[in-house]
Symmetry: C2
Subunit: 188 residues, 2 copies
């Protein structure tokens, strides 16, 4: 058996500082901000950053962890307590999540198919929730019969990208319009 030692105090401190500074840097300059600058801001050598986060995506994944839990909780709640606007609520929440940092939307969109991505699992989970929510809406007749989970993925991804490159207003508008299109009774 492997007796696990308590992690060193400096390691935990550096881990937290790196996360905090990465969050700040990514908010300001997007997800492609220089990792060396993140390490500098955290007062830590570059090697230490790589020790904790071997990959930029691993860092992003760690940054998203808490946020993810909140999102998944919302999804579970929406699934547990049916409501007519559940799908719309979900799409808006997922979009906001994917638009947390500039560049994130693309990373998440790519992460869905890329099994090597540290974000793959959480992307799948998001897709799964969306899928279940449309399925229910389809049964209710709230959305057109050919609506699929992919439609939700596409809409979320697209809206998040819009949020980043155009504005929050345009992103929200796209959601409104596309959901209206999904509510169409007969396929166009």
């Amino acid at each position: 058996m492997t007796t696990t030692r308590r992690p060193r105090a400096d390691a935990r401190r550096n881990y937290e500082r790196l996360l905090a500074e990465a969050d700040a840097a990514f908010r300001e300059g997007g997800i492609e901000s220089s990792l060396e600058s993140v390490a500098r801001r955290a007062g830590v050598a570059i090697g230490t950053l790589y020790g904790h986060f071997p990959t930029r995506r691993a860092l992003v994944g760690a940054l998203l962890r808490e946020r993810n839990e909140g999102l998944f909780d919302l999804g579970d709640r929406l699934l547990a307590h049916p409501a007519p606007d559940a799908l719309a609520t979900w799409v808006r929440a997922a979009t906001a999540h994917a638009a947390a940092y500039s560049g994130l939307a693309a990373l998440l969109a790519d992460g869905l198919d890329d099994e090597t991505s540290e974000l793959h699992a959480s992307c799948r989970r998001m897709a799964d929730i969306g899928e279940r929510l449309v399925a229910r809406a389809r049964e209710t007749g709230a959305v057109r019969p050919d609506a699929t989970g992919d439609d939700i993925i596409a809409l979320t991804t697209a809206a998040a990208s819009l949020h980043e490159h155009r504005s929050a207003a345009e992103a929200d508008r796209l959601i409104t319009l596309t959901l209206a299109g999904l509510a169409t009774t007969r396929p166009a």
Copy 2:
């Protein structure tokens, strides 16, 4: 007055080769492909590339010139000869244009507001055509009364980004759904 001299033969040759190789490189690796590799492929020193195209965006702009003309011609034709599906045709064509290279959609979306971008003028022209087309559709009653040119920009941008990060199918599907939403008679 400044008399414009004919450019030197070697300059024109290099210009063309650079364009050709940039096109190939960007098709393969997206718009962020290394410019040094483009110069290498063209058999030219890096300084020569910068001599012709001071900016990556300038290079992209040059690459898009012909393509742009074709697109604008289509726009003018659609405006000249009213047809029920003119708007849909335009959105699909503009999306295909914006998805020519991976990374282009984002560049164009940003270029609309950024007056320093070499792509600004052509982005505006695209936006203008879209605007006129929705205006007409609005008058016809083919789209909801609150539809605007921004809706078209948003949809085009979003679909192109989807084309890049998800698939052509999802991009097309978003267009279908959003246009259906725009066709909704009363605002949701």
